[in-house]
Amino acid sequence: MYFKKITLCLGLLTGLLFSCKKLDQLNPSYPTVETYYQTSAQLVGGTNSIYVSFHAGFLVGREWFYLNDLRSDEFAAGGGQLEVVRAQLLNGSALPSNTQMSTVWNGLYILIHRANSIISNAAKVQDNPALRDRCVAEAKCLRGWAYYNLVTLWGGVPIRLSPVDNIADYLPRSSTDKVYAQIIADLTEAATVLPASYTGADLGRVTKGAAQAILGKVYIQKGDYALAKAEFEKLSTSGLYALTDNYSDNFDEEHEFNRESVMEAIYFDKGDRKYDASFTGDGAATAQTTLRNQEYNPLSWRNLIPSDKYLNEFENTATGSAKTDPRLAASVYLTGDKYDSGNTAITDADQNGSASIINGKTIKAGWRKYNLIYKQAKAVATKTYYGGINQRVIRYGDIILLLAECENELGNTVSAVRYLNQIRSRPSVSMPVYPTANFPVNNKSDIIKALVHERMVELGAEEVRNFDLLRWRKKGYFSTDPLPYFRVNRDELLPIPQDEIANNPSIGAGDVVAQNPGY
């Protein structure tokens, strides 16, 4: 009788013994890196994720504009509400541990990793060579943009050109020359492949013009004015780009992708008043808004406001100019200005924090560029609101002024003045052309003064001033540095983030020591 029981037990045992295949489990929800990036559709998906990083909170959606603005003299703290890490950058006390700064470094390298994963895996894709090549070109263009930001802000950085596949794959900093060489190679290649423009569902991808514009900016930052000019002229002669008649069209929600836009980060408001809380932009349902609308909003957080220097830079009848520059009103709101489609005047009581002084007069000022309150009623405008206005990361107006700078540096003063006046003659601006009483343009140094002025009033709060300062400082444009805290051999560059140094044992093993001078 026990025999039966034993048989039954053995049966129970053996019935379950042969289950070891169950030990081989692959994640049923996700493909692995080895098996992915095989088709052009997969490659396009991967390419799209580069744009996700580009517009995410840690880059153009928040930290990138902050970082550049905090290193510019166009901005002042709106009051005590400005967070400490940002205030440290604004007053020049940032340390390698500053998280605002390291977040941008992190974001740029994430973008680079995503670009690398396309560039390195593309060879496997054969089903649509044209689409594949376009993806690679987009990746190289955006990778170029990222390294351009890195080398400008931090100097020599690790050059990573393929996705890391091994924990020990640490890279040291390379020299700035090597980084520039890589950027130029990427952008040159991208510019030959990228289409001049897109239609329909592809609108917003980087174009040939964008690659050329970044390349031009790279050259001018290096001081290669002739090469820069050649790239910028490719845009001006393409017939694709023009200044918008209305200056404000560059900062509103109604005129996105206009003819002046060269490179644009797209934001989209789903109406749920959410923002990209992870700052990585990842997650299929993540909000697609930018925090800019909230951070600088005169009626809301008002973390940064226009600096007095910026506000007083505008030609103003109050200070004897022939005409008050209309770009002042298009760029900032002063107490008494109308928002809400012209229906409501902004009051002092609506604006928390510090006041400004314009032409000797104390008044509260806040940013208008890229702010939705121009069309929002007060009840909405004073609330937390993350907007959907696309940020024009590069616009043609910037290119025109850079052309003016190239021409001036190359000795072609007539051309330089012509470009400057092209900007001043925009129908909605129509400022008296140079020379003016305050800005004679008799020689190169006169033109430099006009150029410096014109770029600030035209491009204020568009994240170009920081790059301008870095370039002009080297050329000796300033007798007194525009940044009050500036220390030579320190504040030219940001510190390499503490986190990078701590976790990258090879960071200082290459052409450059681990940390920048002065930190």
Binding site: T32, L203, T384
Partner: protein
């Protein structure tokens, strides 16, 4: 074959009247029997081996008892103390051995129902009997106790109770009746003029025959060689607490429980410290043999007992899951008795026990001017008189100036706490069952939280045929938890501190009814914590769980059995969240957001177990072999969408619908072997080996082996010790083993692509999920963390175990700790680390448990003290100078990390600057190391220049202490006198530090929010004698940075529980309720009545809230509540 029958009847007859531990004990005793019993009635045919060397009669009887299936009952006082026996018996009939042992003692024996009663030889000249005394003996649960020996002290009269516990004995007034029974406390009653004597016998605690459940079986406590602690159902249910973990707090040396979160949230449980950096330190839970994953939603009332396996030799039977120790829970089972109904009920209220001092409106106005004025910031528009004297909302008469909101009063509340459990149990020799139904509700002490649970259990066992039993345990539970949701570090308590006292909580003119701060006019933007909790925090977590097992047990022979178990743990969790359209003037939403989440988890367990249990001469062998598979499947669906109105809370017609689902599967296959060997009851050896194969590792690394061995020496069984009557137990034991821990997810070795997981709105059009990325590296070399553990222990019992001591030393070292090796940002992986077996960590410590048990007399009491220590040290991380920093947050320390994990230091030690007073003058600033260039002024904190380079920077930080206590301790005192009982339970930790991050919010003065009253004492040129730095918005000197300023002692001593109970006397019960109720106890209890601590926050019991490596950082966590409750226990 006959034996089977005999053995069955024995078990059934025993369990008829005994509680489960006794049944298990008897079971084991039966197993120890050698050789086969042919007929229980004929003890002449039972043959035994016995060796007596200078043995007393009592020890000889004890030895005999341990070698056969009989339970001996005798009155130790009647045994001759001086007589010693030296003899050897080999395979001799038990009756002959007994005859020899009892020769010339005036005693004889009779066998009855598997009991051997040792009785005085009846005297020929018995006293004349005048009365006949009758009565009924019951246990404390009211169940009749059969086979209790009843005799008259010093006289020959003796009898035993029948199956109804009834006895009848002739006795005279003045005679002392003695009631004895194995496993129960002896009781003596002097006969007066009554003829009926009813009484209760209570069970003996920590008796020598106590059996403890160990993995895949049970063992006599005296035979244990590992570190195992038992907690009885009585202790578990002594406290009115919601879950098992809280009931275990302070009960077991080396087991540390930290409350962490609101109602329904699981506390943190650690056994002997922190074993893993990446993984959880939660022990492995096994309920009735089935791994449970967690203890959520479990009803304490169903617990029979809890065993905590602390060291490798005890836990290694669970191999790759045993590093954090194992908690085994046995639920109650039916007994062979008539139906018993028990009702356990308590109801109480809970409240917070402390408030912090925050600014009121007039104080806030002073503070605002100090803070903003010093920074040159103008008065926020709202605070200007014209605005401040306006009504708080249209239609209100009260102005902002007249408003003084106490946000703590608004946020904290008293909440109901109640638990009801009714159980029904009983059985006969074929079927036994225990079933129960329970309900639990806890409102919590803050707004917007709550938890309730309903549960049902049925455990049954059925004898199918000879030697074949089938049983099942089934638990069904439904719970509903309204949880805090994920708030990151800005907890609601942070916003309670920050909320502006001049703003109302509610505003009938807003959509939603709450009032928020408006940054543009208030110059400050705390979010309304009540609105967050009540209106926006509508997250309901509904869980239904089915947990159970079914088994078939085959008893082939007396020493060989086989058990096949199928276990299932099925749970379904749905989380519904709804965030409405609202507008509080500061914040708003124009669309409502619905989020629905559903998680399904299924774990299937198959265990095949062969058990061999045999005694050959002096050798006792117990061998267990197990083959087991565990198959886990889970799926998860997360969806969200928007509605334009608050009327519809489903996805019908919703916009922006998004849905993500995922599935996972894991598979574990195990082969287990264990051998326990005992020689002459003195020398103990236990060895176990488990080989596990696990699907989560890459091919080639799937299998690993986990061995362990331990030895024990019962010194009190040695002849040279036997004459020392005072020492009732003395045992030395030592064990070593290797355990494992899988501290990563199911697919950690694979580098996964997040396909279509992101969105970029090309052409200003939302195309959800058009982007794919990956940000991780795989690691095919990953394997279990393996921990080597050594345990040395001593158990001492004095005066018949009146005094007990258990002391243990342990050390444990993990050399292949899994760390998420941080990747440099330049890898582009968003700093996501790569899992690798690279670290090394060491823990060592002592566990002491000391008890004094006084169970004789009318005043009974029991004192148990526990002290345990843990020393933790990280020995190595991925590289020599690698660090793991955690807790960096601009709100709580200027963005500096709060903890650092580094080789040579305890895990996650606090790390930061050292303060050195306050600068009183500009000269002092100028003469001191540069703090923050151009920013430091008198009134700022001076930070120490630890590396003497003249500059204060991040290199001037140092290790500031640890959140790990130097020791944990508890003291439990319980006493009873007549019908009253009471217990006092004290629990404490000593020598730990807390980083009071909430105080950074109260006193940090970084920018304008409401704050603690301490800021009124900020440094000014006229108020220099203070330790609070100057108030200046923006905190230019970073006075709020992570420093020793925010560290506080975390030591506390807590009156964890105070209970006073009263048992309604039997006589009253029978008078008023005609005996329909057998026992009735009422009690009052208070939990956390008093906490002695110098800690300034709400509560010193700090878990973790913000991911790992930030334990002991108080972000403003849900505080432990004080409760008062009344309870009722009824037995029918």
């Amino acid at each position: 074959m006959n034996f089977i029958k005999v053995y069955k009847s024995f078990i059934l007859s025993t369990t008829k009247h005994a509680r489960m531990p006794l049944a298990i004990a008897a079971f084991l005793i039966a197993f120890l029997c050698y050789p086969q019993l042919l007929k229980a009635e004929d003890i002449k045919k039972v043959k035994v081996n016995a060796h007596f060397g200078n043995a007393t009669v009592e020890s000889a009887l004890q030895q005999l008892q341990s070698r056969c299936g009989y339970v001996f009952t005798y009155n130790a006082e009647l045994l001759p103390k001086k007589k010693t026996i030296t003899a050897s018996f080999n395979n001799q009939p038990l009756s002959e051995v007994l005859d020899f042992v009892l020769k010339n003692t005036g005693l004889s024996y009779t066998e009855k129902n598997k009991y051997i009663l040792i009785l005085p030889v009846p005297s020929k000249s018995a006293d004349k009997v005048q009365n006949k005394i009758t009565g009924t003996v019951k246990d404390t649960t009211g169940a009749p106790l059969p086979n209790v020996t009843v005799f008259i002290k010093g006289k020959s009269g003796v009898t035993t109770t029948n199956k109804d516990g009834w006895f009848s004995i002739p006795a005279n007034a003045g005679d002392q009746l003695v009631f004895t029974m194995v496993g129960f406390l002896r009781k003596e009653i002097t006969v007066g003029n009554q003829t009926v004597i009813d009484l209760l016998l209570s069970e003996v605690k920590s008796s020598l025959g106590e059996v403890v459940v160990v993995g895949y079986g049970s063992q006599k406590r005296t035979s244990l060689t590992g570190a195992v602690s038992s907690v009885s159902a009585e202790l578990i249910n002594a406290l009115p607490v919601p879950n098992v973990a809280q009931a275990l707090q302070g009960r077991v040396a080396g087991l540390n429980v930290i409350n962490n979160g609101g109602p329904g949230a699981a506390p943190i449980i650690q056994i002997r410290g922190i074993s893993s950096i990446n993984g959880s330190s939660s022990p492995f839970y096994v309920i009735d043999g089935v791994p449970a994953g967690n203890l959520a939603n479990f009803d304490n009332a169903d617990i029979q007992n809890v065993e905590v396996l602390k060291d490798a030799s005890a836990a290694a039977i669970y191999g790759s899951r045993a590093t954090n120790g194992v908690i085994l829970i046995t639920t109650r089972k039916g007994t062979n008795s008539k139906l018993k109904i028990e009702l356990n009920s308590f109801t109480g209220i809970e409240e917070t026990h402390k408030r912090v001092d925050l600014l009121n409106t007039s104080q806030y106005l002073l503070y605002e001017r100090a803070l903003n004025g010093n920074a040159g910031i103008g008065l926020p528009p709202r605070l200007q008189p014209a605005s401040f004297n306006l009504p708080i909302y249209t239609g209100a008469t009260q102005t902002f100036a007249e408003t003084n909101t106490d946000w703590q009063d608004a946020y904290f509340k008293s909440g109901l706490l109640t638990r009801q459990n009714i159980s029904l149990s009983g059985g006969n020799e074929f079927s036994k069952f225990y079933s129960s139904a329970g309900y639990f509700k806890q409102d919590g002490v803050v707004q917007g939280l709550g938890y309730q649970r309903g549960n049902f259990r049925i455990n049954s066992e059925h004898r199918i045929s000879k030697g074949v039993t089938f049983g099942e345990n089934l638990y069904l539970v439904y719970s509903r938890q309204r949880s805090e949701g994920s708030t990151g570090t800005r907890s609601k308590l942070v916003n309670v501190v920050r909320s502006l006292p001049y703003l109302p909580v509610y505003d009938p003119t807003t959509n939603g009814g709450y009032r928020g701060a408006e940054n543009s006019v208030d110059g400050s933007d705390p979010t309304n914590p009540l609105e967050d909790a009540v209106l926006l925090g509508d997250n309901n977590n509904n869980t239904s769980r089915l947990f159970g097992s079914a088994y078939l047990n085959f008893q082939f022979t007396s020493w060989l059995s086989f058990r096949s178990t199928f276990g299932l743990d099925h749970s379904e969790v749905t989380i519904h969240g709804f965030s409405p359209v609202y507008d509080d003037k500061g914040r708003s939403a124009s669309v409502a957001t619905i989020s629905d989440q559903k998680n399904n988890n299924d774990t299937f367990l198959y265990t095949q177990q062969l058990n061999l249990n045999k005694t050959i001469g002096l050798h006792h062998i117990n061998f267990t072999a197990v083959y087991e598979t565990q198959d886990g499947k889970s799926s998860n669906v997360v969806s969200s969408g928007n509605q334009a109105t608050n009327l519809i809370q489903t996805f019908a017609g919703a916009t922006n619908i998004n849905l993500v689902s995922a599935k996972e599967r894991s598979f574990l296959v195990s082969y287990v072997g264990r051998l326990n060997y005992e020689l002459a009851d003195k020398y103990l050896l236990s060895a176990a080996i488990r080989r596990d194969g696990y699907s989560a590792w890459a091919p080639g690394h799937k299998f690993a082996t986990f061995p362990s061995a331990s030895i024990g020496w019962r010194i009190n069984e040695e002849n040279f010790m036997k004459h020392i009557q005072a020492i009732s137990e003395l045992k030395l034991r030592a064990g070593f083993g290797i355990t494992g821990l899988a501290s990563v997810g199911n697919y950690a070795w694979q580098a996964l692509v997040n396909e279509n997981a992101s969105t970029y709105p090309f052409n200003n059009t939302l195309t959800v999920g058009n982007a794919t990325y990956y940000n991780q590296l795989g690691n095919k070399e990953l394997e279990w963390e393996k921990t080597k553990q050594l345990n040395i222990g001593i158990d001492l019992g004095l005066l018949r175990n009146k005094f007990t001591l258990s002391a243990e030393y342990y050390k444990r070292q993990t050399n292949n700790l899994i760390l998420q090796v941080p990747t440099p940002m330049s890898f582009g992986l968003n700093k996501v680390g790569v899992f690798a077996n690279v670290g090394s960590m060491y823990n060592s410590g002592f566990d002491f448990q000391l008890g004094y048990h006084e169970h004789g007399g009318k005043f009974k009491y029991d004192i148990t003290g526990i002290i345990s220590t843990v020393r933790n040290k990280v020995l190595a991380l991925n590289s020599n100078n690698a660090i793991l920093d955690a807790g960096a947050d601009a709100n709580f320390g200027s963005g500096f990390a709060i903890t650092r994990t580094q080789a040579g230091q305890p895990i996650q030690s606090f790390y930061g600057f050292v303060t050195d007073g306050i600068f009183q003058s500009q000269e002092q600033v100028n003469q001191s190391p540069v703090q923050v260039i151009g920013k430091t002024a008198p009134g700022d904190i001076k930070f120490k220049d630890l590396n003497n380079d003249g500059v204060i920077n991040s290199d001037d930080r140092t290790f500031l202490g640890s959140n790990l206590p130097k020791f944990n301790y508890s003291l439990n005192f319980s006493a009873s006198y007549r019908n009253f009982d009471s217990s006092i339970f004290l629990q404490g930790v000593h020598g730990n530090k807390i980083y009071n991050a909430a105080r950074v919010i109260e006193e940090g003065m970084t920018r304008l929010y409401n704050a603690g009253t301490a800021v009124l004492n900020a440094w000014t040129p006229t108020n220099t004698n203070t330790d609070i730095p100057r108030a200046i918005s923006g905190d230019p000197n970073q006075n709020s940075r992570t420093s020793d300023r925010w560290l506080e002692s975390g030591s506390f001593l807590r009156f964890k529980n105070l209970t006073l109970g009263y048992n309604i006397p039997k006589s009253s019960l029978s008078t008023f309720l005609h005996g329909s109720i057998t026992n009735l106890r009422v009690y009052v209890a208070s939990q956390n009545l008093l906490t002695i601590t110098s800690y300034k926050g709400w509560d010193p019991e700090i878990g973790y809230s913000n991911g790992s490596l930030t334990s002991g950082v108080d972000y403003g966590q849900y505080p432990s509540a004080r409760s008062f409750s009344i309870g009722l226990q009824v037995g029918l």
